[in-house]
Amino acid sequence: MNARDIFLEQVTALLPALRAFGRSLCGDPARADDLVQDTVLKAWTNREQFQSGSNLKAWLFTILRNCYYSELRHRKFEIEDPDGVCAAQVAISPDHDAKLHLRDLSRALQHLPPDQREALILVCATGLSYEEAADVCQVAVGTIKSRIARARDRLVELLGEDAAQVTGAIPVPTMTDSEQISTQRSGVS
């Protein structure tokens, strides 16, 4: 088996993670899969640039998010309001907007600016480290952290104070370190 067969094999193994990352970025499953197809093609075309042994997942995620942003630029607007909720509330105060209390996490994510959304997803859902996420987004680690903090605050606002009870989470963290680590690992592809 030559190097290119292995490359395709590794890309195939990462397809589920790519689809999940794409969907969390753009919200729409069909658009997400289009993004992943573009990503696979670009990865294949540029496979010589990938150094085997380095982080293929991060490299593919970088290609995907670049495809996502260039598509946004082409469209010249961002679909942050897929249900027209914000548009319908044009004259409503920001305080009212804050009380949307969306139950659906993926819809709530679409209310974030894309840079906050991707930072939060990369670190907290895909299991990348801060440094890896910073590389993918081509910003400093500090920038990633502040984007995550802002994303967190906005999501807590959007999902409502009772979100913790809705999901059955216990207000006081009781997970031991090892339980937390294994939970984190299970989120990594």
Binding site: R19, S24, I121, C124, T126, L128, T167, Q184, G187
Partner: protein, 63 residues
């Protein structure tokens, strides 16, 4: 091929525990984010992708 990018060979898990994301994001939110992500990961990969990869493989073999 599953790799934990946070640990390096020889390092103990506790020393490289990813504590900081948990500090920034409450448990309930982190759990929901991970569950949302793994839900998609558990979906079967659509045939379109298999077809695309097969095409690339065939092109490669034919080259």
């Amino acid at each position: 091929m599953i790799m934990n990018e946070k640990t390096k060979p020889g390092e103990s898990v506790a020393a490289t525990a990813p504590a900081t994301p948990a500090e920034q994001v409450p448990d309930w939110l982190g759990n929901r984010l991970r569950r949302m992500f793994t839900d998609v990961m558990e979906e079967p990969v659509p045939d379109d992708f298999k077809a695309l990869l097969q095409q690339l493989e065939d092109k490669e073999r034919g080259a």
